[in-house]
């Protein structure tokens, strides 16, 4: 467990939005597992940051929540993406792609010392 990296600050919100976009309404545990699985267990979600992050997204109106029953009949709070959330996801994904592209170019240029 010790070699697993924590999720970077700021990227968690994007991952949560993307997860909800892909899988539809999901509870907090499901979101955490999904992120861990997608990262092939390279990332571990700190629950101390996950729930405040969900609350922040809800306060900003990107997700909505309601209590429901999980697939194995456990009571759980389900989060779903709102229309504003979908728009935000598109915007943030674009921004992220641009940032990574720029960084990738930077890193690539370092590999060729003159």
């Amino acid at each position: 467990m010790a070699d697993k990296a924590d999720v970077w600050q700021g990227t968690l919100a994007l991952m949560v939005l993307k997860t909800l976009d892909t899988l539809g309404p999901l509870h907090g545990y499901g979101i955490a597992r999904r992120i861990e699985q997608t990262s092939a267990h390279h990332l571990s979600v700190n629950y101390g940051t996950l729930y405040p992050a969900l609350l922040k997204l809800e306060q900003e109106g990107y997700v909505a929540s309601e209590w429901g029953l999980s697939e194995n009949n456990r009571k759980a709070k389900f989060y779903r993406l709102t229309r504003a959330g979908r728009k935000q996801l598109e915007k943030e994904a674009r921004d992220w792609e641009r940032t990574t592209a720029i960084l990738a170019r930077f890193l690539a240029s370092r590999e060729q010392p003159s």
Partner: protein, 863 residues
């Protein structure tokens, strides 16, 4: 937008209660369950599954903490917690809470009361009406003849005029003096006010009267059938035309009972171009600016100046136009600094009481912070920042300030209700309306008080370091010698001393003004105000003839409607001396044999006789009092000295020479200073009679009124004894003295609470030391002396500072309030010193006794 929405939700989240916490707990619980289920499905034993899930979840409490921070606004949340904590802490110390709340309540209550009155008197707009932004005042005053000429000129402004007067209203039960506004017939049209019932004045109205709403309610029981009924004012009959709407004001403090048209000729001096007694109100025409109106008015004024150069010199130059809604008494009616100075002084005094109260609360809170030095040190050791600690201490003072100001505000509302119902206020028609502005002011005070009270404890708490406190232990002096708290108490004593001195000076003035009047024979004199429906020339002699025939009458003279001894202060100049600075003096205009009627002895020369009023001599005779002779003429013989009297608007006389023919004993005393005021009496005939009777004054009133009624059935008469009249004139001084006494008494009570607090607290802290002293052989009286001496040193310091302040104050007050310089009064100072010292002794004795009666064994075991 989104950030705003999130912020608002967090604001709401701050006050979310246990429900929100339960929601999170349920979410975390469900999270855990889902994880366990997964683990079991993956093949773990239930125990291992649970253990692993809990490990993965991590600390539940930190998660909850972070979630809560996100849900609410942490800073606000902390503040809210601090306030709740402060309430809990204070609730445990009811005595402290009561003392501090009471101090603040007294301070704010007084301040709000003073503020509400001052707002009423000084800052409220003088006039209300439709579209008030187009209303203007033209200053200075104007004479009625000038007004009529200006009114006919073509101007970009519609002009109306008004003046205040008192009138005698006769009913079936008797007569009453009421205040009246005499207005031009277009006044209500210019101001644009629609009557509640009936109508306002038509053009050329002479016999119509319009009632104010308050007068109609109080005197006529809001009778809607009042229209067209007759009302007798100043002996003439008017018809009630209408009633004005509630809340209409044409002057700030006194709302007049009736409005009468200038056509009714109630006001004097309608035919005198010099008598600029009328206020000019204007409404700007559509599209006209104030600048255009001013220019046009100046042109009109210049024309009047060139037509009547003697009467109107400087008229155009002085003329200014000010916005009507902005103007208050503060700007217009009281150009002399007197009223503003007096109001400012009262305000300053009220402010000082609040300062004392704040110092008191601050002192008590500093003592509390000292008591809690250990708690504070532990908090710091555990990582609390100083800002957090300061915030917590300020929260305590905020709770006290809020409570105190709420009590003060409630007290004020209660007082305002009482005052409004008071018969004297109802009769005078004074507007006292609880307004929202004073309450806003009260809230502002609460904020100020919070800062003032919280700053000191927060500062001292900031000086705490855990190491010193823990080393010092219980008996240690974490805060040095509590110098801040001691300074605060000394300051309170100083301010109380100042307030008490001011009160004492006013009381002395009051007492001495009574003794000065004793040279008037009040037991046998009656003042009879007569208003004749029309003058027949020689009214005084004609009335005197009738009054002298009444049995028991011993002499008749006349004066002005105001109290005889004190009237307007003017500057006199020596005749023939061009460069003299002038002599400040009170002037009064009196009739023949005036002093004989009042029973005031003539010290030298003679007083006015009938022949003075019949002769056409160029030099006017005048009588001065002893104070005038003493101060301005030294030891020289006053008789025959000549002075230049200024031109007199009312009689239309230009400047003339007057020669002293007699000196009378002093009767005049300044209202705000106990000095004898120089006074000059000049001859004048009026219908305000002063009558000397052989029997008791009160018994003669009926006979005198009947005698005048038979002489002229239309005459309005109101008679009262000279004693009553003088008492009425003394009301302002008396009210001032009472107010100051109240303020002073409250201040000393509050200051002594503070002193008691600091002495008992210090004594308590020195319990161990006292135990040691007793064990080593000190006697109990010695301990008592030690503690009392400590307290009295503070009082002494405070008195010293207070005496300096009081000296400065009497200088300042003398400069503002009186014509003659008032020196520090040794009697007042000695009295105040005695009061403060004995109060200080009383406040220290009780805690000192308790301290000296400790059992050394218990005191030493304490450690």
């Amino acid at each position: 937008m989104r950030a705003m929405r999130a912020w608002l939700l967090r604001l709401r989240g701050t006050f979310a209660g246990a429900g929100a916490d339960r929601d999170l707990a349920a979410q975390l619980e469900s999270h855990l369950q889902l994880h366990i289920d997964d683990n079991v499905r993956a093949g773990m034993s239930p125990e291992a599954a649970r253990r692993q899930a809990i490990l993965a979840l991590g600390g539940v409490e930190p998660t909850k903490e972070r979630y809560r921070d996100r849900r609410g606004l942490p800073a606000l949340d902390a503040l809210w917690r601090d306030v709740r904590y402060a309430v809990r802490v204070l609730a445990k110390r009811p005595l402290l809470l009561a003392a501090t709340t009471l101090s603040i309540a007294i301070g704010t209550g007084i301040n709000v009361s003073v503020y509400s009155v001052l707002q009423r008197v000084l800052f409220d707009p003088l006039i209300t009406g439709d579209a008030p932004e187009r209303l203007v005042w033209v200053t200075p005053g104007i004479s009625y003849l000038n007004f009529q000429d200006m009114r006919t000129a073509r101007l970009p402004i519609a002009l109306a005029t008004m003046t205040m007067t008192t009138a005698t209203w006769r009913t079936a039960q008797g007569t009453a003096t009421i205040s009246a506004h005499v207005v031009s017939d277009n006044f209500f049209d210019v101001v644009r006010v629609r009557p509640a019932i009936g109508r306002t004045f038509h053009e050329g109205d002479a016999n119509a009267a319009v009632l104010s709403h308050g007068f109609w309610q109080q005197r006529f029981g809001a009778d809607p059938t009042i229209i067209d009924r007759p009302i007798e004012i100043n002996g003439a009959e008017y018809t009630i035309a209408g009633v004005l709407p509630e809340g209409f004001r044409s002057q700030a403090v006194i709302s007049p009972g009736v409005y009468l048209p200038t056509g009714g000729r109630v006001a004097g001096a309608l035919d005198n171009r010099r008598a600029a007694y009328f206020d000019l109100v204007g409404r700007l025409a559509e599209g006209a600016t104030r600048g255009q109106a001013t220019a046009a008015l100046r042109v009109a004024a210049e024309q009047l100046e060139s037509r009547y150069p003697a009467e109107n010199s400087g008229f155009a130059r002085r003329l200014t136009v000010v916005p009507g809604h902005a103007l208050s008494v503060f700007d217009a009616v009281l150009p002399a600094g007197v009223a503003i100075g007096a109001a400012g002084l009262v305000y300053a005094m009220a402010g000082l009481v609040l300062i004392i109260a704040c110092a008191n609360v601050a002192g008590l809170l500093v003592a509390r912070a000292d008591e809690r030095a250990r708690e504070i040190a532990v908090r710091i050791a555990l990582g609390a920042t100083r800002a957090r600690l300061a915030q917590q201490l300020v929260a305590e003072s905020a709770v006290i300030a809020a409570l105190g100001c709420a009590c003060g505000g409630a007290f004020w509302i209660w007082c305002a209700a009482l005052v409004r119902e008071a018969p004297a206020v109802v009769a005078a028609g004074v507007n006292v309306v609880p307004a929202s502005l004073p309450l806003l002011y009260c809230a502002g005070l609460a904020v100020l008080v919070t800062m003032a009270c919280g700053a000191a404890p927060a500062w001292t708490a900031g000086a705490v370091t855990p190491a010193t406190v823990i080393q010092a232990g219980r008996s240690g002096r974490a805060f040095g010698r509590l110098s801040l708290q001691r300074a605060l108490v000394a300051g309170q004593v100083a301010i109380s001393f100042l307030l008490l001195t001011a009160a004492a000076l006013l009381v002395l003035v009051f007492v001495r003004s009574r003794s000065a009047e004793s040279s008037i024979d009040v037991a046998h004199t009656v003042a009879v105000q007569v208003r004749l429906p029309r003058s027949r020339g020689g009214d005084f002699f004609w009335l005197r003839e009738a009054v002298e025939r009444v049995a028991g009458v011993d002499g008749v003279s006349c004066d002005q409607s105001v109290t005889p001894p004190v009237t307007f202060t003017t500057l006199l100049h020596r005749s023939g001396v061009s460069d003299d600075a002038g002599y400040a003096t009170a002037t009064a205009r009196v009739g023949p044999r005036y002093f004989a009627v009042l029973g005031v002895p003539i010290e030298r020369g003679r007083e006015f006789t009938d022949s003075d009023f019949r002769s056409k001599s160029v030099t006017v005779p005048m009588v001065v009092n002893q104070a005038f002779a003493r101060r301005y003429l030294g030891g020289a013989d006053p008789l025959g000295r000549q002075f230049l009297l200024r031109g007199d608007d009312e009689s239309g006389r230009s400047a003339h020479v007057a020669a002293i023919v007699g000196v009378v004993r002093d009767t005049s005393v300044s209202a705000l200073n106990h000095d004898r005021v120089p006074a000059v009496y000049t001859p004048a005939l009026t219908t305000f009679l002063v009558v000397r009777v052989k029997g008791p004054a009160a018994a003669a009133i009926g006979d005198l009124e009947r005698a005048i009624a038979t002489r002229d059935a239309g005459a309005a008469v109101s008679a009262r004894t000279m004693g009553d009249r003088l008492a009425a004139a003394r009301v302002p001084t008396r009210a001032g003295a009472l107010l100051m006494l109240t303020l002073g008494a409250l201040a000393i009570v509050v200051a002594m609470t503070g002193l008691y607090g600091v002495v008992s607290y210090t004594a308590n802290r020195r319990t161990f030391e006292i135990g040691v002293r007793l064990a080593l052989g000190a006697t109990r009286p010695a301990i008592l002396r030690l503690i009392v001496g400590d307290g009295l040193r503070l009082v002494g310091l405070g008195c010293l500072a207070g005496a300096v302040l009081a000296l400065l104050f009497t200088q300042a007050a003398a400069a503002v309030l009186s014509t003659a310089g008032g020196a520090a009064d040794p009697l007042a100072f000695a009295g105040v010193l005695g009061i403060v010292l004995s109060a200080g002794l009383a406040a220290t004795l009780w805690p000192a006794r308790r301290a000296s009666s400790v059992d050394p064994v218990i005191a030493l075991r304490h450690e």
